[in-house]
């Protein structure tokens, strides 16, 4: 089984090497004529007034946090689906187990929805 991962290591090495090669080639071959205007960040031709990095809306953190939770939920569903196929004798029990699990999570989802966590306005 582990042998299947050997080509993956080769591929990783190859792709990283290709990426590095592209960056280095481009660095060598490109011409440089730097002017103060060119070195500014692009802001539709206006002089840059302030740093771009400001604090952003809490929505983005909320999306990232909800993403982690739902990602973990999905991770639990993979083995469930496999068990459902591989253990046909217990499929009724498995179905009830997943419905309970989903019921609990749906309560959380409805709470998030009602509190407006999924709104972007």
């Amino acid at each position: 089984m582990l042998q299947a991962y050997v080509p993956l290591l080769l591929v990783v090495a190859f792709v990283v090497f290709a990426a590095a090669g592209m960056l280095v080639m481009s660095h060598w071959l490109s011409s440089y004529r730097r002017t103060p205007t060119k070195l500014q960040a692009y802001e539709s031709g206006m002089p840059v007034l302030s740093d771009a990095r400001e604090r952003f809306s809490v929505k983005f953190y909320l999306v990232a946090m909800l993403f982690i939770i739902f990602d973990i939920e999905v991770v639990f569903m993979f083995p469930w689906a496999v068990a459902f196929k591989q253990l046909p004798a217990q499929s009724g029990v498995l179905l009830v187990a997943m419905l309970v699990f989903l019921g609990v999570l749906t309560a959380g989802f409805i709470y998030a929805w009602k509190r407006g966590a999924l709104e972007w306005s």
Binding site: S26, H27, A41, Y42, V63, F67, V75, G92, L95
Partner: protein
């Protein structure tokens, strides 16, 4: 090292080189195809000066990108600015290594080379660079690493447009990743294993999953489009609002690397769709392709490419036909529609399998497939007609909307 391992390594290296050269050339041709398709849709000619029919345009573009000036904004973070294109490029190309592209090839060799020694291989070789037991979980895991390239490109540029583009893109990608993960669960309900080879084998024994799991196929294609940041989900670029989004500050080869990553992702999503829902390299209505042999491998490989090209064309067609979503609509489509529909769908499919297979006792996979297909027709009616209030099927024609009274009265006065 024993001769068998050396034979395995030799084959792996050969397959790797073939796949990567093919993918890179394919990506180059896709940039041309995108421009030709857009020209065709917009009634233009498209690139036609470099080579016959513009065929050498990608080569000219590649050369141009290599020698163009590299810019580095003074306010940018230089190391991360340099690393970001590589962080997009590496995961995008890694994914193409684990999708099987043809029927296994029976291959026996036993030879010796000076210095390197003896190489031995026997039996059928799967036509995939790395035949991982984790299968499409690997694709999901690696595609979640693709967020970093875009987020870091946006942040390290320290330009307002880049930052906004990178931020939007990463929020969008993580939102649709949940829907993508949920839409493959029905496949596990039928196949019972994550490895690509078992998914393909199960589809050969029954129906292609596009029929019994049509809605999952639809959800997968939509969230796949969003994952690759293609129109109508191209929030990270959104030329009309954000100049060029996360790669506003990039030039030269670094810019080209983002493009290679995008087109490699398009190929991967298309190949994933084909493998998971359209039987992979399977040729329908015949068992000839499973016999094994050089001819079978070549035929299935070509058939796989044709199927993938269909989806690539579909994605281009969608890109040049549909307008872009508004960002709040995009997020609510992901969180309030796709996730719910995908969750309900896999529960319904599980209940159906339980009832049809274990209570009624239908064991033939093909019969089960047709039953599920019938169920899908009903579900599609519910989703596309009832839930959607007929907008997708009938189009949002202006006549069907009630005209606000204020507008009509003003029109009558004037």
């Amino acid at each position: 090292m024993n001769p068998e391992l050396k034979g395995f390594l030799l084959l792996s290296v050969a397959k790797m080189l073939v796949v990567f050269v093919a993918v890179l050339i394919w990506v180059a041709l896709l940039t041309l195809m995108e421009r030709k398709v857009s020209a065709w849709i917009q009634n233009r000619l498209g690139p036609n000066r470099v080579g016959p029919g513009g065929l050498l345009q990608p080569a000219a573009d590649g050369l141009k990108n290599l020698v163009k000036e590299e810019t580095l904004p003074k306010v940018a973070n230089p190391i991360l600015f340099l690393l970001a294109p590589a962080m997009s490029f590496v995961p995008a190309l890694l994914m193409s290594a684990i999708i099987p592209f043809a029927a296994p090839l029976p291959l026996d060799f036993d030879f010796s080379l000076p210095l390197l020694g003896r190489f031995v291989h026997a039996g059928s070789t799967p036509m995939v660079v790395a035949d991982l037991p984790v299968g499409f979980l690997f694709v999901l895991a690696i595609s979640s690493m693709g967020v970093y390239g875009i987020a870091i490109a946006g942040w390290s540029s320290n330009s307002k447009y880049s930052l906004l583009g990178g931020l939007r893109a990463s929020a969008q990608m993580v939102s649709y990743e949940v829907a993508l993960g949920l839409s493959v669960i029905p496949i596990l309900l039928l196949a019972g294993n994550v490895s690509f080879s078992s998914v393909i084998a199960d589809q050969q024994g029954g129906l292609w999953y596009v029929l019994p799991l049509f809605l999952a196929f639809f959800l997968f294609v939509v969230s796949g489009l969003a994952e690759t940041n293609r129109l109508p989900f191209d929030m990270p670029e959104a030329e009309s609002e954000l100049i060029a989004g996360f790669h506003t500050e990039y030039s030269s080869m670094k810019f080209a690397m983002f493009f290679i990553a995008e087109y490699a992702n398009v190929i991967t999503v298309s190949a994933m769709t084909v493998t998971l829902f359209l039987g992979g390299w399977d040729i329908p209505f015949t068992a000839w392709d499973q016999q094994g042999g050089l001819l079978q491998t070549l035929a299935t490989g070509s058939f796989f490419v044709v199927k993938v090209m269909f989806f690539v064309f579909l994605f281009m067609w969608i890109r040049w036909t549909l307008p872009r979503f508004r960002y709040d609509q995009l997020m609510s489509l992901g969180w309030k529609f796709l996730i719910e529909v995908a969750t309900v769908y896999f529960v319904v499919i599980a209940i159906a399998i339980h009832l049809i297979g274990r209570v009624w006792g239908v064991t033939d996979p093909r019969a089960m497939g047709w039953w599920l297909f019938a169920l899908n027709l009903v579900l599609c009616y519910i989703v596309f007609v009832l839930l959607d209030r007929g907008l997708v099927i009938e189009g949002s024609s202006p006549q069907r909307r009630p005209v606000p009274p204020s507008v009509t009265s003003e029109a009558m006065e004037s």
